[in-house]
């Protein structure tokens, strides 16, 4: 044996190989898990596909007794709650981010930032519990008041419960707020000082500068942040399940009990005993999976372009 590579050198090389192999295995496992996961969902939902085919997507009847299943009410519920929550929370998210980036001093901004991340990390069952015991009764009262206002007997009569789409929307708006606010804040914090000073030096006020220099600068990252927040809202399960009311009919008003794809699965997987019922629930999961992937890819594309710009 040639003596040149010392023993410690050789040991070093062996360790290098071992680590490379170990991390490769870990990486492959991750990819394989995702692929297997999809395959498994696809296989176990085949009973539903065999029975209903593609029309599963636009049929609005969901009846476990007659074993007729269609996903439209849940798709609508998912999109309405997701976009509704986004609509409500976006102005607040922007306001919070702008305030913390440009108006609050460090003494205020730091603790508030900490609170935001704390709120973002709160288990969703806590939001759900709060939603059920605090938010839902308020919305129930609002529903009755609103019913009287527009003269709808149905709302006054049926609407004292408060569970339904609106409760889910408001709760989701609160839940995604810390997420979008902190992402927008991060974007605002990297707007170059020289650009802000350039605007100020021209006689712009702080608000002029925010409107015309900072917000245009973070436009893309803001859209990306909002899409990511939307993704969260679409997939949120526990809290929504607790306040949305497990309604299987196509919702006709914001006060109607409804279901999202996620809450339908959570609400019903225990009752699902026949293969076709199970298959249909798993089919819902597949649809949600695809929506989540689309949203995430979209956000990533937007954010990457934002960085290149």
């Amino acid at each position: 044996m040639v003596a040149q590579p010392s023993r410690s050198d050789r040991r070093e090389a062996a360790r290098e190989r071992a680590f490379t192999a170990a991390s490769l295995v870990a990486a492959v496992t991750l990819v394989a898990t995702i692929v297997l996961f999809l395959v498994q969902l696809f296989i176990t939902s085949r009973t539903s596909r065999a029975a209903f085919g593609l029309p599963f997507l636009w049929h609005s009847e969901w009846n476990p007794v007659t074993e007729k299943f269609g996903a439209l009410p849940m798709i609508v519920g998912t999109l309405v709650t997701g976009f509704g929550a986004l609509l409500i929370s976006t102005p607040f998210a922007l306001g919070i981010a702008i305030f913390l980036a440009d108006y609050a001093g460090r003494k205020v901004a730091e603790p508030v930032k900490y609170l935001i991340s704390l709120l973002g990390g709160l288990p969703s069952v806590i939001f759900g519990l709060w939603g059920l015991f605090v938010l839902v009764p308020i919305i129930g009262k609002f529903e009755v008041w609103f019913g009287k206002l527009v003269g709808s007997k149905a709302l006054v009569a049926s609407g004292t419960t408060g569970v339904g789409l609106l409760a889910a929307i408001v709760l989701l708006a609160i839940m995604i707020l810390p997420f979008s606010a902190s992402l927008i804040l991060e974007a605002l914090l990297v707007v170059p000082t020289e650009l802000k000073e350039g605007a100020l030096a021209l006689g712009a006020t702080k608000w002029d500068t925010i409107q015309n220099v900072e917000l245009p600068y973070v436009r893309r990252s803001t859209v990306g942040a909002l899409v990511l927040a939307l993704g969260r809202a679409l997939g949120e399960t526990m809290a929504v399940t607790m306040v949305i009311g497990n309604g299987m009919k196509m919702p006709t008003s914001l006060f109607d009990p409804a279901n999202t794809l996620a809450s339908a699965i959570a609400n019903q997987f225990l009752e699902a005993t026949s293969p076709i019922y199970i298959g249909s629930l798993i089919q819902l999961a597949l649809i949600l999976f695809v929506i989540a992937i689309i949203i995430n890819v979209l956000a990533r594309v937007i954010l990457r372009r934002g960085i290149q710009q």
């Binding site: 000073e197 030096a201 006689g203 245009p216």
Partner: protein, 254 residues
């Protein structure tokens, strides 16, 4: 030589970052329609001095200042800071055109930022006149609606000069505007100064002795936060009155 008209006067300016004092009782009288160079070694307070003139110094967290700035006889502390900045423009060390605006929009950025609306005609007129003034018109005529950041570094810096003088300030502060540029772009901007001083009073921070000698009519020499010597450039370079100025000019410190 006759006494020049004074456009801007500072009285006992002091400035701090937190507990560190960086300017000490700086009193200077800046002549109108002249180029006044602010020179001195790194960290002597040149940049801080010009940033106290338009209030940008105070934008840094923990920064303070004291003293009086008189702009054409008016105490600027009695004016709205936004108005002060309209009268005292500034060009920065690194070109900072607004990346989300076109060349055209960058020239008019001051109007847009301060909410002044211009008719299309008037806007076109200003853009052409101002870009001509900074010698950019023929170069960028075909790129008016491209992003301001698509221009070369030297062109970007002239674009920043354009947007500053588009607001018709009385004084323009230049904070080492050529330090990030190549020699050719530097020469173009230096040449530009002699045209600009017919309309504006210029305060030009520079790190380089030669540059100060080339471009300025008056020179202020700063050291360790003090204004050591102020006078006509020729006089200061030929016969400095302070020992420290003499040492600096003879290259004794950076």
């Amino acid at each position: 030589m006759e006494e020049p008209v004074i456009v801007l006067e500072t009285q006992k300016i002091n400035a701090w970052f937190g507990k560190d004092q960086v300017l000490f009782d700086v009193s200077a009288r800046i002549p109108k329609n002249r180029v006044t160079a602010i020179m001195g070694p790194s960290g002597c307070g040149k940049t801080t001095f010009v940033r106290t003139l338009n209030g940008l110094h105070l934008m840094t967290p923990g920064a303070r200042s004291s003293g009086t700035v008189l702009l054409e006889g008016t105490d600027t502390s009695t004016m709205d800071i936004v108005d002060v900045r309209k009268h005292i423009g500034m060009v920065f060390q690194r070109p900072n055109p607004f990346p989300t605006m076109t060349v055209y929009e960058n020239v008019l950025a001051g109007y847009r930022l301060t909410g002044q609306r211009l008719s299309r005609e008037k806007a076109d007129q200003i853009v052409e006149a101002i870009l001509n003034k900074v010698g950019l018109w023929t170069e960028v005529q075909s790129k008016l609606f491209k992003a301001g950041t698509s221009l070369s570094g030297g062109q970007q810096q002239r674009l920043c000069i354009a947007r500053t003088i588009a607001m018709e300030p009385a004084v323009v502060l230049f904070d080492e505007p050529t330090s990030a540029l190549d020699p050719k772009s530097t020469a173009i901007i230096e040449e530009l100064l002699s045209d600009l001083k017919a309309d504006y009073s210029i305060i030009f921070v520079t790190h380089g002795l030669q540059q100060a000698a080339r471009i300025s009519d008056y020179v202020a020499f700063f050291m360790l936060g003090e204004l050591v010597e102020f006078g006509e450039t020729k006089r200061v370079f030929v016969g400095p009155q302070d020992k420290r100025t003499e040492d600096y000019l003879s290259g004794k410190y950076g």
